[in-house]
Symmetry: none
Subunit: 219 residues, 2 copies
DNA sequence: GCGAAACTTAAATAAAACTTAAGAACAATT
DNA sequence: AATTGTTCTTAAGTTTTATTTAAGTTTCGC
C-alpha cells in the first residue's frame, strides 16, 4: 500500500518512514504543502499521514485539497496541536483519524491498519441489462444514465423480470410476485403494467412469448 | 442515525445518552454483554459505542461478535483501559476508533461524526444540495446563505435524507431513524414533517415516490 | 381469414400523500 | 410550581396519483 508521509521534522520523518516500511507500506515522504500537493496529483497515493505544522503553510490546506479532489483518500493527522478544538476541526474537515504528538508508534500503526482495511470494502448490488440499471437497495432505476420513475408495481414487475433474465415468466408467475396471497386479481393488470414499462424503456427489453409469458434481457 | 451505547456506569450512560440525543442520534442503551448481543440481533443499529468493562463479561467479546456477523458496523470503543496494548488490540479486532476515559465529549462527537459520515460516504461534516447546506457538527442549516431554524425532528429527517442523496428512503426507514425502539409512532408524522420541511426549502429538494418513499437531491 | 392472445386506451376505483388545525407533550423562564 | 411558547403527534378532509377494470383494437399462429 502506497502511503504519503507529510512531515517537516527531518528526524521524525526518517524514523517513521523506516518503521512504516517495516509495516509493509511503500512510503513517499515530503516536507512541504507544495510538495504534498504535487504528490497528490499522481493518483498513486492510497493513504496519507499528515503533519499540520509545515514550513510553507498549514497542513489543513492539504487536507481540504484532498477532501475536495479525492474524497475517499484516507488521511490520518499526526501533529503537535493536540487541543480538542484542533482535533474537532481536523476530523470535521474530513480527516479519518487524529493523533496528537507525542504518540506511540504502535498506536499509529494500529490506526493506519484501521484506515487501510476500510479501503477494501464492497458496493451495493445492481441488476442490469444494457443501459437499464436497477439498484434494489436504493429503489432506483435508470435508463441511459437518466433516472426513471417507476411506481411500485412497475418496479416490482421489472425487478422480477431482471432477476430472471433469459428465463420466461408466465403471467401467473408474475402475478404471484406482485400480489399477496389470496389477493386475487381479476383482469389484465400484468399486461397493462408491461405496457407502461415498455413506454419507459427500449422495446427490446421485454419480449413477449405468446401463450407462454415474458422475458427480459438479451438473447 | 441509530446508535447503541453499551455502558454499565448508570450515571455516565445517562449523561451520554442525553447529549448523544442532542447530537441527533437515536440512542439505545444497555449495560451488559448479553443485552448488547440482543440489541445487535435487530439489525436496526447503525453505530456502536462500546465500553469494555462490563459486569457480565468483556466488551471485547461484543466487538468480536460484531465483526464476525456485521463486519461493516462501526464500533467506537470508549473505556478506562487506556494502555497502548489495549488500544492496539481493540483497533486490530475491528474497532473503528478508541477513546480512553476521561475523554472530552466534543472529541467523542467529532469521532462519531467521522464514523457516521463514512457510512454515508459524505466527506466532511457539511452536507449540501444546491444552496441548502447542513453543518452536522454545528447543528445548523442554511438556505441561500440564510440560516434556517429547524426543530429537532425536522433536522433529523433532513439529515437522513441528505445523508442518502439519490437513495430512496421509505417512510418506515425514516421512522427508524427518527424514533427509538419501542417508541411506536401511530400516525402520519413523517408526512407532516416533510410538509413542514418543504415549506422552508425549495420544493424540488425532497421528491416523493409514491408508495416507495422520499429522496433528496438531484437525480 | 379465424380465433385466441396480447396490446392500447380511457374511465372508474382505490390507495397514498398532502394539508390543516387542534391539542398533547415538552422546554424554558419566571 | 405555573406560565408561556415551541415542537410533536393525531386525525380528518382534500388532492393527487397509482392501479384495476373493461372495452375496443391489433397481432400472431394456425
Amino acid at each position: 500500500m502506497h502511503l504519503l508521509l507529510v512531515e517537516d521534522d527531518e528526524l521524525v520523518a526518517q524514523g517513521l518512514s523506516r518503521s512504516l516500511r517495516q509495516q509493509g507500506y511503500s512510503v513517499e515522504h515530503c516536507a512541504t504543502v507544495k510538495a504534498a500537493l504535487q504528490w497528490l496529483q499522481s493518483d498513486q497515493i492510497e493513504l496519507v499521514v499528515l503533519d499540520l505544522g509545515l514550513p510553507d503553510g498549514d497542513g489543513i490546506d492539504v487536507l481540504k485539497h484532498i477532501k475536495k479532489h479525492r474524497k475517499s483518500l484516507p488521511v490520518v493527522i499526526l501533529t503537535a496541536r493536540g487541543s480538542i478544538d484542533d482535533k474537532v476541526l481536523g476530523l470535521d474537515l474530513g480527516a479519518d483519524d487524529y493523533l496528537a504528538k507525542p504518540f506511540d508508534p504502535a498506536e499509529l500503526f494500529a490506526r493506519l491498519r484501521v484506515a487501510s482495511r476500510r479501503l477494501t470494502q464492497a458496493q451495493s448490488s445492481l441488476l442490469s441489462v444494457d443501459d437499464v440499471v436497477m439498484d434494489i437497495a436504493a429503489h432506483t432505476v435508470s435508463y441511459q444514465q437518466q433516472p426513471v420513475n417507476l411506481p411500485r408495481k412497475e418496479f416490482m414487475l421489472l425487478k422480477a423480470l431482471l432477476e430472471n433474465q433469459g428465463r420466461v415468466l408466465s403471467k401467473q408467475q408474475l402475478e404471484n410476485k406482485l400480489y399477496e396471497w389470496g389477493e386475487e386479481v381479476g383482469s389484465n393488470t400484468i399486461e397493462v403494467h408491461i405496457h407502461h414499462l415498455r413506454k419507459k424503456f427500449p422495446k427490446e427489453l421485454i419480449k413477449t412469448l405468446r401463450g407462454i409469458g415474458y422475458v427480459a434481457g438479451k438473447r
